[in-house]
């Protein structure tokens, strides 16, 4: 096996401890080893993806365009207005995260350019947490890129131990995974140690098990877009706890195994087939009669 090879979180933590490096660095070095590309090249590519995430958020915040299905559109803009207004008793730093999550997801629904992280349906979660918090804490692009490598490592562990496809594992595999990736990335941004980063991911992932994938009309819009906002908040909750020293009772790797098991137990109708749940409600049927 490669020197920095890891197939689960425990192995990743061990590799990082053995070399006395951050999780981010361990993930980066393994990628360099297996791809043959230099660290610099990899960081440059990651920076490009960060820029596209930024652009997806910026596009989504500005537009009021409705999606082709007519189901969604303009909600990120509403949040942007509310945050700018300051007339409501909201927690504005939090509202910014919500705004960004909606923004990237709406860009996705409008056939805009996004970075799947890990999927297109969950593409709002990681960027929202990363970008909003980096702005608030005035963190450099380098710190954000570092955080993205941690996110990639967490995503890889979930992919290997379970799945990143909603059709196989339900929405926990997509929004849950994205939330776990975002939680670990945020923990890295906060300067928390390697264990705390993994614990943050565990706390987030745990609280998505059993989530169904029942998109209205089969479109990646309802509940997907707003779910991205909700799961950005899940990541924030998880990392806030982890930062204070709260530990996940069930270790991350075992949560991943649970995800695989629970995902398999969900009936196919509730896994990206729009044949149950929200997709078959009265309103859904009225709005999407052809499904």
């Amino acid at each position: 096996m490669a020197e920095y090879g890891y197939n689960n979180a425990n192995e990743l933590l061990d590799i990082a401890a053995k070399h006395d490096i951050s999780l981010s660095r361990a993930v980066l070095l393994y990628e360099s080893e297996t791809s043959g590309r230099s660290s610099e090249l990899l960081e440059t590519e990651m920076k490009r993806r960060l820029a596209i995430m930024r652009h997806a958020v910026d596009e989504g915040r500005r537009t009021q365009e409705k999606s082709k299905s007519g189901l969604t559109g303009g909600d990120a803009h509403r949040l942007a207005n509310a945050v700018e207004d300051r007339s409501l008793p909201l927690q504005y730093d939090f509202a910014r995260i919500i705004e960004y999550a909606l923004a990237a997801s709406e860009t996705n629904a409008l056939l805009g350019r996004i970075v799947a992280a890990p999927t297109a349906g969950s593409c709002g979660i990681l960027p929202a947490v990363l970008l909003a918090e980096s702005e608030r804490l005035k963190l450099s692009p380098e710190r954000q890129i570092e955080a993205l490598f941690v996110a990639a490592g967490i995503g890889r562990v979930i992919a290997l131990g379970a799945t990143l496809a909603g059709a196989e594992g339900g929405c926990a595999a997509e929004c849950g995974a994205a939330s776990a990736m975002a939680a670990a990335a945020l923990a890295s941004l906060y300067g928390l140690d390697n264990r705390a980063q993994v614990d943050a991911a565990a706390l987030a992932l745990k609280n998505s098990l059993g989530l169904v994938c029942d998109p209205v009309g089969g479109y990646v819009e309802v509940p997907c877009i707003k779910r991205n906002a909700i799961f950005a908040a899940v990541a924030l909750s998880a990392t806030t706890m982890s930062a204070a020293g709260v530990v996940s009772v069930i270790p991350f790797d075992e949560v991943v195994i649970a995800l695989r098991q629970v995902g398999r137990a969900i009936i196919p109708a509730l896994k990206e087939q729009s044949e149950g749940g929200l997709a078959t409600t009265e309103t859904a049927c009225r709005l999407c009669p052809n499904r």
């Binding site: 980066l28 350019r113 996004i114 799947a116 297109a120 990681l126 990639a152």
Partner: protein, 219 residues
């Protein structure tokens, strides 16, 4: 599934769906490569989930965009229908039932001279399963040579020898045939770009009927 850093933080794509948009675009690109460029007329027959979600996922736009040579992160994917018109590409859509075993996100793409069945298998990845009547497994991760030849002892060896003498290293080989001593379809993935002039050289082999290069999808 691929779990490299840029498989997880990626692909960069036009939304809304990795499987129904990005994967569809890549299928279009693979077919375009098989055809050797933009055809004049193309027909897409959608199966399963691809058919049901119809235009809401931009699958139609993505397929057309791929045939036109657009990458899956090109913002012009949205304008694929207009682009097709201005480039003189006639497009037809239909539904097809490819059977229970077919992947839910599958499509049969046909022109007057070519036929392909492919699937969008998740995470934006695409895979061709049939070319004309032959079973194949082409995902565009490596440059691929597709050949049809008259099945008889030694043809594969001749083809391999030709590739070797041109300095090309073979990564994978897959053969499929309808019956013994009939016609066989072969897919050969290469480690690097196909050598210049290799198509002509392979076509010179008497048993070889057809040679096509399918380019790798990523640089």
């Amino acid at each position: 599934m691929p779990t490299g850093v840029f498989d997880i933080i990626g692909p960069i794509m036009i939304g809304p769906s990795s499987s129904h948009t990005a994967g569809a675009c890549r299928l279009g690109r693979l077919f375009r490569s098989l055809c050797g460029g933009t055809p004049e007329k193309v027909r897409f027959a959608l199966h399963g989930s691809f058919a049901r979600t119809g235009s809401g996922h931009g699958t139609d736009l993505a397929l057309i965009a791929g045939i036109l040579g657009l990458r899956e992160d090109d913002p012009r994917v949205r304008d694929a229908r207009q682009l097709a018109e201005s480039e003189g590409l006639a497009v037809e859509f239909a539904r097809i039932d490819l059977g229970e075993d077919a992947h839910p996100n599958s499509v049969e793409i046909t022109t007057e001279t070519h036929r392909m069945i492919g699937s969008s298998i998740g995470g934006g990845r695409a895979e061709i399963s049939t070319i004309d009547r032959y079973q194949v497994q082409i995902d565009g991760s490596l440059p691929t040579v597709f050949l049809i030849w008259r099945d008889s002892p030694g043809v594969l060896a001749k083809v391999a020898a030709e590739l070797a003498s041109a300095g090309s290293n073979i990564a994978t080989v897959r053969l499929s045939r309808k019956e013994k001593h009939g016609e066989a379809g072969a897919t050969i993935e290469l480690d690097g770009l196909p050598p210049t002039g290799i198509v002509e050289r392979l076509e010179k082999i008497p048993e070889v009927k057809e040679v096509k290069i399918i380019e790798a999808l990523d640089d």
